[in-house]
């Protein structure tokens, strides 16, 4: 039986349903200290004085550290190196870390954190990402508060619009989105002889290793990072765990004792990264026959006080700024600006959900203006094999957007023409999206991955990779890949904890890249071992190695079968290679910074969402009844896990569309808990029909591309387009809360 493409139960499920899986807060070490972070209460201020003299001697308090105690450099390394671990003279957002307190128990540490007096001198803050670029606004980064700017220039924008018959231009805004992983951030740093060992919840152990070594002034080989079971991440544990780990590590380094730091929910929401709020000006035009001919975009992200990942989030958003469509004349300018707010970062979709909301709203409106069915209109414009993207990338492989669109339409596209008189209005909406898999030209030097495979004497297998499991199912999918490659039973294959000492730096677990990158590295690692097994099996079976078939625990030749365990044991007697490393380097990508032309990603996943909604005209509430989600992600390795990714992504998209709204006033987030920041519950979950069209990607492991982020991206615009279809209300500011719908309805009373 081939196990690729099968619903194999998850490797980690039993541990998790029995409560035996070990998350970071489940671990303790002898003599362990508890750490608490003292944070800024002002969005922008000078620190005049920190008075720790009294608190230092509190019962149970072991040490209090400030930036002066950092032995290495006071910087959290991401892209631009502008963020300190602990503020020195100036604080730039509410929640910025100032000092670290370590104590024998949680309570003493917590109490001390309230007693420390910090004397501030307030400075003028800036909160608005657009005003931040104005000449007279307070400067918190460089001369213009712009962390990063990207552009695309294609064709002739002026002529392009002149040729159009219909042009529409609108402004869109989107809100923060909180990751709301149910496990908050947490780390334990354990000094062990000359090495600092870090355990914790994270996506990117190699980022953490880099950060801790910079802060402590230690070489990489003296910092070992081990990922523990991670209770959700969604991008929110990409870069910020570097801060958490460095905070714990500094205490551990100074006290030579294990140090545990678990963020409270409030602290996590207040100070950790989120999806960037965006302001988007979008102008697009079509010819009468329905061809998209010109697009001009200005895309602004509120990056917050430090740049963190914003330059690359912005870059990805820029690349995807026209959506999965052909367009000969394009001008895109994008900016990530500095404000005195919490730094934003990676969140599932990485800069594309915001822009896709604008793209797909415009497409819907253009179809409407053309009097054309939105699906038919998209079919005229979508990318197919042989087309060029707006960055000039000629698509050669796996691009089945058309199939996803047609399949979704076939399952769920029926526009009701007759108007129901009722106060409940029903509507349907569609949105397409595409997503460059992997880091692409924006993170080229990280586009690599390693794997280590070891077949042991009894025929069981251990493998290690440098990417991480955070709930998405990587462990299971990669176990399927290794088992299938070696012909060994799935049950005998297991992954070891991701640990920086086991595999070379494999870059981050982001950008839906784990399956392709680690999968390919794993296949390469299996190669020499497979050769050992095949050679010996051939001898035992009395045939040529090329005739041996390995599958499901057996080696076979014609009608003869022998147990692989026996072959493995023979391999050991013969001293054959039974463990090996694999290395995979991503295919070529390129980017011209001045023109925005090139091959930004090596492959794209694509998808179509159709949403069915009911809008209550009395309350303004929107109920999502059904989402049809059709995705093209190459070959699907585990349909059940893949469907799980879609269902989870869809519901995050529903939250993003309708109720996840962060109330930030004067730089202070008001809703720092789950009774005020509203997450979708079981009752908000619509019927989700998830379907995959499979067009194998020749470079991917068994033909797979990437999936993780795709499912969320197109959901919000599909819903807002459905709201338009139901009511004629065009929502241009996410989320589409009942208040906004009611306001709109009020402002045009009498229309229904």
């Amino acid at each position: 039986m081939n196990i690729i493409g099968k619903d194999i139960p998850r490797k980690d499920a039993e541990l998790k349903v029995t409560g035996r899986a070990k998350y970071i807060d489940d671990l303790t070490f002898p003599n362990m200290l508890y750490v608490k972070v003292l944070r800024s209460r002002f969005p922008h201020a000078m620190i005049k004085d920190i008075d720790i003299s009294r608190t230092k001697n509190n019962k149970g308090i072991v040490t209090i550290l400030t930036y002066k105690d950092i032995p290495g450099v006071n910087v959290v390394p991401v892209v631009l190196m502008d963020q300190p671990l602990l503020a020195e003279k100036e604080v730039r957002y509410i929640g910025e870390p100032i000092a670290l307190i370590a104590g024998e128990d949680k309570e003493a540490t917590e109490d001390a954190s309230h007693e420390i007096k910090v004397e501030y001198e307030e400075l003028k803050p800036i909160f608005d990402p657009v005003l931040a670029m104005k000449r007279n606004s307070p400067k918190i980064y460089g001369k213009d508060n712009v962390f990063s700017h990207h552009r695309i220039r294609r064709g002739n924008i002026k002529r392009g619009f002149n040729e159009c018959d219909i042009i529409i231009e609108h402004r869109y805004t989107t809100s923060y989105q909180e990751h709301a992983y149910i496990e908050t951030q947490g780390m334990i740093a354990v000094p062990y002889e000359e090495t600092m060992v870090i355990y914790g919840s994270m996506q990117c152990p190699f980022y953490v290793q880099d950060a801790v070594s910079k802060i402590l002034g230690l070489p990489y080989n003296r910092v070992e990072v081990i990922q523990t079971a991670t209770g959700g991440a969604f991008g929110g544990k990409e870069d910020v765990p570097s801060l958490v780990a460095s905070q714990a590590a500094l205490i551990a380094f100074k006290t030579r004792r294990p140090a545990k730091l678990i963020y409270s929910r409030e602290e996590d929401i207040e100070s950790m990264s989120k999806r960037h709020p965006a302001v988007i000006h979008y102008k697009s035009g079509v010819t009468r026959d329905g061809h998209l001919n010109a697009v001009e975009v200005k895309y602004i992200l509120n990056a917050g006080a430090y740049s963190t990942l914003s330059p690359i989030v912005l870059w990805r958003g820029t690349v995807h700024a026209v959506g999965p469509y052909k367009c000969p004349n394009v001008k895109v300018d994008s900016y990530a600006t500095a404000t005195n707010t919490v730094p934003c970062g990676a969140f599932r979709g990485f800069g594309t959900p915001q822009i896709t909301f604008a793209v797909e709203s415009q497409m819907d409106e253009l179809a409407n203006k053309l009097n054309m069915d939105p699906i038919e209109f998209r079919l005229k414009n979508i990318l197919r094999k042989g087309d060029r993207t707006v960055t000039g990338h000629l698509i050669k492989d796996s691009m089945e957007l058309e199939k996803t669109l047609k399949k979704a339409a076939q399952i769920g596209w029926k526009i009701k023409k007759e108007e129901s008189k009722d106060y409940i209005k029903r509507g349907i909406g569609v949105a397409c999206n595409y997503y460059g898999v992997g880091l692409g030209a924006g993170g080229k030097h990280l586009s690599k991955a390693g794997a280590m495979v070891s077949v042991l004497g009894d025929g069981s297998v251990n493998f290690a990779v440098g990417t991480t499991e955070m709930g998405q199912g990587m462990e299971t999918v990669l176990s399927q890949v290794a088992a299938s490659e070696l012909g060994i039973k799935y049950e005998k294959v297991s992954i070891v904890l991701t640990d920086t000492t086991r595999v070379p730096d494999s870059g981050p677990t982001v950008a839906s890249r784990a399956t392709v990158m680690s999968g390919n590295a794993l296949i390469k690692a299996c190669k020499p071992i497979k050769k050992s097994i095949t050679d010996i099996a051939a001898k035992m079976l009395g045939c040529a190695p090329s005739k041996v078939k390995l599958a499901n625990g057996f080696a076979g030749f014609e009608k003869k079968r022998i147990n692989l365990d026996d072959v493995v044991s023979e391999c050991f007697k013969e001293k054959r290679i039974m463990s090996a490393q694999g290395w995979y380097k991503a295919p070529y990508t390129s980017w011209n910074k001045a023109t925005g032309q090139g091959k930004p990603y090596f492959i794209y996943s694509t998808g179509t969402n159709i949403a069915k909604v009911e809008v209550n005209l009395l309350t303004g509430e929107v109920l999502v009844k059904k989402i049809v989600a059709v995705h093209d992600v190459g070959r699907v390795i585990n349909p059940q896990t893949a469907a799980g990714q879609v269902e989870g992504g869809v519901l995050q998209g529903v939250g993003y569309a309708l109720f996840e709204e962060m109330d930030s006033r004067d730089g202070k987030i008001q809703n720092t808990n789950f009774s005020t920041y509203i997450l979708p519950t079981s009752k908000d979950s619509p019927q989700i029909v998830s379907v995959f069209v499979e067009d194998p990607y020749p470079e991917g492991p068994f033909g797979a591309k990437g999936l993780g982020e795709q499912p969320l991206i197109g959901v919000a615009p599909a819903i807002t387009n459905a709201i338009f279809n139901a009511t004629g209300i065009r929502v241009r500011d996410l989320p589409a809360t009942p208040e906004k719908i009611i306001l709109e309805l009020d402002s045009r009373q009498g229309k229904f």
Binding site: D12, V17, D26, G232, Q652, S682
Partner: protein, 157 residues
């Protein structure tokens, strides 16, 4: 400090503790039962759900002074001699687990539901777990798993 006597997973326990200490903290830090998780500490996420005298409760809101004489079941008490509870089996089979952090609480809420209502409707299931936040799964497979577990229990007793 108070002395309390209560039962955890059918085992008698007697501890001396602060009256305001939470059940969650007692379970995790005093008794080493780390299967019960903390997601908010404020009764808003359901990750810490345990069964107290037959009812699902957020253990982060239950204080030591309310515990005397109570009977508590946690996720660790669900499988007997290594035999998984039908809910645990169904969660595995249906692929209802992703990061897993919400799962112990989710399963305890579902267990309490099935104890009082052996064949719940889809809406009743959704209602019963509406206080358990899951950020990964979209709840679809969780609801299916609970439906399946209910059937397993009815068919096999």
């Amino acid at each position: 400090m108070i002395k309390i006597k209560f039962t955890v997973n059918s085992e008698e326990r007697e501890i001396v503790t602060e009256p305001t200490r939470t059940l969650l903290s007692i379970l995790r830090e005093e008794l080493g039962l780390t299967g019960t998780k903390e997601g908010c500490g404020k009764g808003e996420c359901g990750a810490c759900t345990v069964i107290m005298d037959g009812k699902p409760v957020p253990s982060c809101l239950v204080l030591a002074c309310q515990l005397d004489g109570c009977e508590i079941t946690t996720i660790e008490g669900l499988s007997e001699n290594g035999n998984l509870d039908p809910l645990q089996k169904a969660f595995i089979e249906e692929g209802a687990v992703q990061c897993g952090f919400c799962i112990p609480g989710m399963i305890m809420s579902a267990k309490a539901l099935l104890m009082r209502n052996p064949s719940p409707t889809e809406d009743e299931i959704k209602e019963a777990i509406s206080g358990n936040l899951c950020r990964c799964t979209g709840y679809t497979k969780i609801v299916k798993a609970i439906e399946k577990a209910a059937k397993m229990i009815i068919h096999h007793g």
